[in-house]
């Protein structure tokens, strides 16, 4: 292993080969590894043993905050801070306050989904060792990469390389830190 390495990167040419490889790497018990693809491959989450994404919680909490904000804001503005009489109707009614609160539910829920996704993915990030690799630029084009980090407890120079070779990768290389 050259010094100052981040990971061992194996290139694949078809989604089927990648899916198969991911399954085997997962079975071998690695933890710090990932698959890089130009588009999400159907069934890859299961092959890699990834659990259901937690983005939903961020969105749900965002939506709840949005709805509460809308209702409280309208109650505070029209029924508390500056009471406005409209046609003898109650100062506050949840029905008239519903449409803006509904919109705010969606607004805050959407921000929750997007920001939650970015937070869980630790994005934006300005630097990634893989993005310096010339060959890796193909990961957004038509190539598929399985990358096993050297920081993994199971990582071993020969064993890991042999595993990736046995999975049918045509090109394996070290990625610098």
């Amino acid at each position: 292993m050259p010094s100052n390495t981040y990971a061992l990167m194996a290139e694949f040419e078809t989604p089927a080969a990648t899916l198969h490889a991911a399954q085997k790497v997962h079975d071998a018990g690695y933890h710090n590894w990932d698959v890089f693809t130009p588009f999400p491959i159907h069934g890859m989450d299961r092959a890699m043993g990834i659990n259901n994404s937690k983005v939903g919680w961020f969105s749900f909490i965002g939506g709840c905050i949005g709805y509460a904000t809308g209702m409280l804001m309208i109650w505070f503005m029209n029924a508390h801070d500056y009471r406005i009489h409209i046609g003898g109707k109650p100062m506050f009614s949840p029905f008239a306050a519903f449409p803006p609160s509904y919109e705010l539910t969606i607004l805050f829920g959407s921000f929750g989904a997007l920001l939650g996704m970015l937070f869980l993915n630790r994005l934006p990030r300005l630097h990634h060792p893989l993005l310096k690799n010339r060959r890796f630029a193909q990961a957004t084009h038509d190539r598929f990469f399985v990358v096993i980090e050297t920081s993994d407890a199971k990582f071993s120079d020969q064993e890991t390389r042999r595993l990736l070779e046995s999975l049918g990768s045509r090109h394996i290389e070290w990625v610098e830190e």
Partner: protein, 495 residues
Amino acid sequence: MAQTPKSSVAEEQPTLRVQGPPAELERVPLVANNRGLGWISDRIAGVVEGKTPGWWKICFGISFTFMVVCFAMILYLMSTGVGVWGLNHPIMWGWAIVNFVWWIGIGHAGTLISAILFLLRQRWRTSINRAAEAMTIFAVMCAGIFPLIHIGRIWFGWWLFPIPNSNSIWPQFRSPLMWDVFAVSTYFTVSVLFWYMGLIPDLAVMRDRAKTRIRKFGYGLFSLGWTGSNRHWSNYEKAYLILAGLSTPLVLSVHSIVSLDFSVSQLPGWHTTIFPPYFVAGAVYSGFGMVLTLLVPLRRLLKLEDIITVRHVELMCKVTLATGSIVGYAYAMEFFIAWYSGNPYERFLFFHNRAADPFIFGPLMHTPPAPYWWAFWTMVTCNVIVPQLFWFKKIRTSMLIVFFLSILVNIGMWFERFVIVVSSLQREFLPSNWSYYGPTWVDILQYLGTFGLFFTFFLLFLRYVPLIAIAEVKGVTPQADPHHPLGGAKPGGKH
């Protein structure tokens, strides 16, 4: 490069072999000519990376001029007052509101394509969703101008928002106009979020292909360091699904709330419970008209016929037909209820002030022609008769006819809003108040100016951002399916 040992999986023989459907039942592929994954990137990114085409420069010059006209008209309105428009008692809502509803309706197709068709697993949407979402954003921008400038004293526009002011008065939340502020601003924001999120992987494609430093930096900055990691894709796809799930009730609520601006009032022609679904159907109808108007020439000009195939155009025509028929049904139902309610004002408005033309129905009803009979019948022709032509496959597959009909759809929907807004106001309860309304040159240039704004942004979008979702189109090809032979699957769909 070691020799590959035989995998144990490869030796397993498939126990069950599923026969594919016969050739005549095979679906037309979403990407024609069996194009590979790399070709899709090259083709779509090539639009942005290639030399600026001559037609783009000409269109941009014209659009930009009109955009300047748009801002000049706003400036003239601000400096002089709303009197420069043709508004006068009793018609206090004229072209401004017509244009507002029209533009915002156009936006709805983008969200329908990006959100509702996603939830319905309509995979053909991937070829058109990016451009349609961009259309949504720019259309909502154009729409947003009108309510803002029609309030008279534009510098108080911020009073619409719940911002503390020196009078310590808050907005009045029982008004549908206030709901509208929230609906439209949320719609715009969520559309931008959804659009941007869809763009992140494609901006990474552009970053990885970039040759110049400026492009590398620009696309790199906005792609947020996307690597295509599957752990990222997992969260990304969930977030996309949630945004689609949130945008669906949003898009249905936006035009419903716009329609409440009218239907909560007491005016015959506006005071109608059918308005929310009728407005939403009309919005989607007009939006698909605009998507067709934009994409039918673009697929040709940008040589994208393999990605936006004839099948895509046909499917869009079918949606137009479906929503156009709903709109036609709603028109009929409005007339039925006007008659069945027994309300004389309602009957007068629909039969005598809208449908009575000088040739057939007017004489039949022994009534003089309605002042806006031509607007009403333009609307009926374009929105009820024209979409029915899409029943014919010959028409759906002829790009020239589709383009022409899509423009009629846009015209028809503009007239629908004109009929609703103007003909309802123009002969109100007191005959002594009756009046006629026509636009001034400022009205007309203001409207044309928003086209300049729209097309300026749309052309910039074409030039700097991939106009088709690269990653999503790749994902629907057989080459991307690990259980398809083209995706490298072994016999029996084993990977």
